[in-house]
Amino acid sequence: MTGSGNGASPLLQARDLRKSYGSVQALRGASFDLAAGEVVALIGDNGAGKSTLVKCLSGVEQPDSGEILIDGAPVVLNSPTAARAHGIETAYQDLAVAPDLDPAANLFLGRELRRPGLLGALGMLDKAAMRREAAEQFSRLGVTLQDIDVPIGSLSGGQRQSVAVARSVVWASRVVFLDEPTAALGVVQRERVLDVVRKVRDTGIAVVLISHNMPEVLAVADRIEVLRLGARVARFTASDVTLEQLVGAMTGALTQEEER
């Protein structure tokens, strides 16, 4: 019942990460394993350290100690750009979109397309190409927006979240972190996001899903890793785990790995 990466080659690993914010220890020796082409759900109670772990693995925060390995080799992810260079993209729980920019501008944030030739060298944007490409990607991923030319802040919470998810999925080449990607969504949109997760997995990109929604986790994940009090306490294969076991691991009633 304890899968350890499906036996597939490890793509991304974290070893014994520690991170404190002042006197609060968010991570107390957390580990994490991810293989190519799998969907891993990262679950845990509030304050278990899920978001901090994701921030460390996506370069937003740096762990105080511990090791991050990609393809078995240690790497330093000292900025979001460094993580992105390894093909790691993240849709953050706090969305991290620019509310005053339109969906296309948000999709291409930090990766703006420039015009060919001299005008591009001067820094001129190719707005038409970005708009066209964005419309294409949104329709491919099933993101429906009534108006693609309005600031993203005027869209509904669900649409904003869909754009944030789409942005991470479009640019990822190896790993996508989705931190509570369905929290603000209605039933239909939620199903679309889960469809996107499966589509992405089928292209060989690994997906890490952080979620509080257990039925959703069991529906889409291949494996489940459980965090409690800043450390991994259990790993399960989704096909042979019960809801009771998951809740037990989250609350501390059940522990597989040694507490630190």
Binding site: P80, A96, D100, L125
Partner: protein, 339 residues
């Protein structure tokens, strides 16, 4: 073929956006003011002379305000522009005097050019300092630029012992200050070039796009790989460079350094930018709006003088419009954030 497919909806939305934008309404206010004053004094207001003086008097403020637009879009502020303008003017004037051995009145184009470089560099240094303190030391821009507001003026007074430099090359005064080509004053042409360049930079380039992104959500910009701190340094440096240029223009127009004459330039520039629909909370704004925002106070002042209203009504009227504009922006934001 694909081009027409994309362009058509884009054009339609441009019209929609124009009507929806607050700049459309504020532009309408400007038009109404011009029509009103023209109707009241058809002999005096709608004349070439009035237009020329109106434009010349607004050109220095316009250059400052174009830079201020960028800073405010990043959710920052620059209170130091007026003092930096004075500092740049003083540096340029003293350099030109010392290059011509005391009296710069008959100095040639080489000396004038040296003065221009000194003004722009002098302004840029203050801008760079502001930018480094805001972006790297993370001191709120209000405090940083309040500091340089005092320090730049003090430095200018130290250089001249508090006395205005009064000899400015005749070539500069006649060429830039009073010169015109085909009825277009050179001051106005220079301000127009700066404004167009600013609009191009803000609305069509990656630099402009990132300026909006930083002001809209700096953390999102950082996570998207945009070098937020470096960008802020460049924006504040740009404002400093423009304030330096404005100082040189002011020198050309007034023929003296006018050390004590720019203490409210910062507030005038901020008022112009905010009137033009740029949000003090960052992420929203246009250079076109700023142009409107510069000319509403200018037209009011001119109009009140010509019509014979006490011109002290101008600040009262402007302040009312300004407060209304910010209120409008707040309401817009609140209704959006609820959605």
């Amino acid at each position: 073929m694909t081009e027409t497919e994309v362009r058509e909806p884009a054009e339609r939305s441009l019209v929609q956006r124009m009507v929806a934008a607050s700049t459309f309404w504020i532009a309408l206010v400007l038009v109404v003011l011009c029509v009103l004053f023209s109707a009241l004094r058809p002999d005096a207001f709608p004349t070439l002379f009035t237009l020329q003086t109106l434009l010349i008097e607004a050109s220095v403020l316009l250059v400052l305000s174009v830079g201020m637009t960028f800073v405010i879009i990043t959710a920052g502020i620059d209170l130091s522009v007026g003092s930096v303008l004075v500092f740049a003017g003083v540096v340029a004037a003293t350099l030109m005097e010392s290059l011509s051995g005391g009296d710069a009145s008959d100095a040639g184009p080489g000396v004038v050019l040296a003065g221009l470089v000194a003004a722009v560099v002098g302004g840029g240094v203050w801008g760079l300092l502001n930018g480094l303190l805001v972006a790297m030391a993370r001191i709120p821009p209000l405090i940083v630029t309040l500091g340089s507001f005092g320090a730049a003026l003090g430095a200018a007074q130290l250089i001249t012992d508090g006395v205005d430099v009064r000899t400015v090359p005749k070539a500069l005064r006649d060429g830039l200050g009073f010169g015109q080509t085909l009825q277009v004053p050179h001051m106005v042409a220079l301000a127009a070039v700066v404004t167009l360049a600013g609009a191009w930079l803000l609305h069509t380039t990656r630099f402009g796009r990132r300026t909006f992104a930083v002001g809209s959500n700096a953390e999102a910009a950082r996570r998207a790989g945009i070098p937020v701190r470096g960008h802020l340094v460049r924006v504040y440096t740009g404002v400093g460079l423009l304030a330096g240029l404005a100082g040189f223009m002011s020198l050309a127009y007034f023929g003296t350094t006018t050390i004590s004459g720019h203490s409210t330039d910062n507030l005038n520039a901020i008022a112009a930018v905010v009137l033009g629909g740029t949000s003090l909370f960052g992420g929203v704004g246009t250079v076109f709006g700023t142009v409107i925002g510069v000319f509403i106070p200018a037209v009011l002042t001119k109009g009140f003088v010509i019509v014979g209203v006490q011109q002290f009504w101008q600040p009262v009227a402007i302040s009312a419009v300004l407060v209304a504009a910010v209120w409008f922006d707040q309401v817009r934001r609140r209704s959006r954030d609820r959605g």
